[in-house]
Symmetry: none
């Protein structure tokens, strides 16, 4: 059982330093070719040695049997119940393309689509998946549109996709999709879910009317559809909740965005894992909590590239001594979810977890793997328990009661 | 942690098939004669082999230390929180004798009792445990009673016990027992717990008045007591909650009734375990979820017949290859609770659990037993997690968040 309110109420500022390494999608399944998981297959002497002197277990990302996206799974690791704090799809997409959201912004996922000239009904919800360069040209055209009362910030994605950010006073994300999800229907107007959102709906519809005009000769991409309208969730920062001065090190916009959502400082870093560790070394004196993100274990898992996943794990293992050399008071190595190469997708399987500090009671597991962690002293526990364990081992939690 | 609302919201219809085998009361304790549990004592090569390539653990039926009846323990396995969905005793008894309940029915457990002719106070709450044949004769007499506005359906149980089902418009199960629980007091009138139930109380009392008249010369069974009044709980079906087309295979009325409560189709089957497996084979194409119930492990446990319990487990093991031959996408073997022969009763001890599918990450336990499952990858988890795991491994759950 995890009680974040209690943890928050007991948390106190100290000098100790915590590093949370999230090896994205690190958990796996035995791969058909070798009968072992990527973690088992990888040659990781440093992680194996560390696991033997750490508390180990398996974290359940959200709940039994639930496969999480990156948003909910990261929130849980950061100590925020993902069932309580809902990050809308539009917001996640905006974070993913590196847009910085302000509290009153409303974000939405956009598609270029094709509508029939005469009837106005949708004939292709993805406009034939136009090339990304074409997308960029069209988005540049749309940037010229002005609607009084709102600034519309646009960022191209791949093919037909883009992100739209509506910025202004008094906006609400409580809007229904304009995408009817079916061809043969007309794009819908943006309609408010709540009376509060009527003002925003009106502004969005003014923008859409101008978009139709601007794109009318751009067949097949002669209209847009918007989905997943969302404003920033109201999340208290980690400094407020846990009395930390937290920093994030990640090469990918979405994870930087998620970290920013919970009030972490985003550190500049290079694209490689080595760059990230160097950033950690350079900034180690300046913060007391570091989130360091390893992305390619997840990407390789999603690609079904077992060999690459093994290599990324080995690459991280080789950098582990540099991290340990900083002598953090608490070091956690885990993942946000499993991404078995066999499934080419995120999965629900619990994720290996180790926590190292002076104050652990290790069971001396033989290696860092799914099977070894399943036999660890921590058992299977919710990943929302990561922050309470981190703070406790950092001696950052006062006693409950007398 | 289990979150059924979330599971429900993510569930989707697919072609995959799930078989949930509930070996009733399968968990046990080391038996004094052999120092092993029935599962450990049984020769079960098929289950042992299956466990080695399955995810294993122990399920906690309801909560730590709680010994459940069959109703709550089955509800939990079916994905329904037994603390939320209360199946009244009257309803369970009615299901147990094979009565099919309609939504507005009110069921109660009945006892024949003895009252003193002159004072009217109860002298024996069980009427000297009259023979079952005598019970049948008396119930037949009671069937002749007519009360306007309600049909009273009666079914004899053993000795002094029977079930009464009140059928009519606008009935409520919110009635207090008429059984004062003590001799030396008069049978109580049926009294309403809520204003809504006053109408029902009046009908029941009219019936009881006529019962007293009909039985007045039938000493020692010259009156009845009613307990556990209950209406059908309002439970959404498994097709609605989990998008399944579920079917139940059980030779016993109570389990068929419990399955019907959650919207399963009840398949005709014979009395033996072999009959049940043949029904499963014959109907395998027609549903995507099967609940198959093995009863005699529980009955033998309740009888304290360790040897018989071992035999039933071995009998099931011999039929396992026929079930595996159907190539279900997910096969779960577990129990609803433990029934140690040593205790001659249900118990609170967690129950061995295995789930087999292409997507498991087995720890290669050595056998299917309480001790081996305690070392399994799933650890100890609430039996309410059975359905989330079943659906996840059947790839029937979409991703949570992005």
């Amino acid at each position: 059982m995890v009680n974040i309110e209690l943890v928050s109420s007991l948390s106190q500022k100290t000098e100790t330093k915590i590093i949370l390494v999230v090896v994205d999608g690190i958990g796996g399944l035995p791969h058909p070719c070798v009968g072992r998981t990527a973690l088992e297959e990888a040659n990781i002497p440093n992680l194996d040695r560390l696991a033997a002197v750490s508390s180990c277990g398996l974290v359940e990302p959200v709940a039994l049997g639930i496969t999480p996206g990156s948003g909910p799974s990261h929130l849980a690791l950061f100590g925020y119940d993902p069932l309580r704090y809902d990050i809308g799809r539009g917001v996640l997409e905006a974070l993913g393309v590196g847009l910085e959201l302000q509290p009153s912004d409303v974000a939405a996922r956009g598609n270029f689509c094709t509508v029939d000239d005469s009837s106005g009904v949708i004939t292709d919800r993805r406009a034939g998946r136009i090339p990304t360069e074409e997308n960029r040209r069209l988005v540049e055209m749309l940037r010229s549109i002005n609607v009084e009362g709102v600034e519309v910030i646009l960022e191209s994605g791949k093919f037909h996709r883009f992100v739209a950010l509506f910025r202004g006073q008094g906006l609400s994300g409580e809007l229904y999709d304009t995408d009817p999800q079916h061809v043969g229907e007309k794009p819908k107007d943006a309609a408010p879910r709540t009376p509060d959102a009527a003002y925003t709906a009106n502004l969005v519809n003014q923008w859409l009317e101008k978009v139709r005009e601007v794109l009318k000769n751009e067949y097949p991409a002669n209209m847009v559809l918007l989905r997943g309208f969302a404003g920033l969730p109201d999340i208290p920062g980690m400094s407020q909740v846990f009395k930390l001065t937290p920093a994030a090190i990640s090469g990918y916009p979405m994870y930087r965005g998620l970290a920013r959502l919970v009030g972490m400082e985003i550190l500049e870093t290079g694209p490689s894992l080595k760059d990230e560790v160097e950033t950690l070394q350079a900034q180690f004196d300046n913060y007391d909590f570091f989130y360091l993100h390893v992305k390619d274990t997840d990407s390789s898992g999603e690609d079904g590239d077992f060999k690459r996943k093994v290599e990324v794990i080995e690459e991280f293992d080789a950098l582990l001594p540099s991290i340990l050399g900083l002598k953090p008071d608490v070091l956690i190595v885990t993942g946000d979810h499993s991404t078995p190469a066999k499934m080419k997708a995120h999965s629900w399987h619990p994720v290996p977890f180790l926590i190292h500090s002076e104050w652990v009671r290790p069971l001396r597991v033989e290696e860092f793997s799914e099977a070894a962690c399943a036999k660890g002293d921590l058992g299977v526990f919710p990943s929302l328990g990561t922050m309470p364990l981190a703070l406790a081992h950092g001696l950052k939690l006062g006693k409950f009661g007398a």
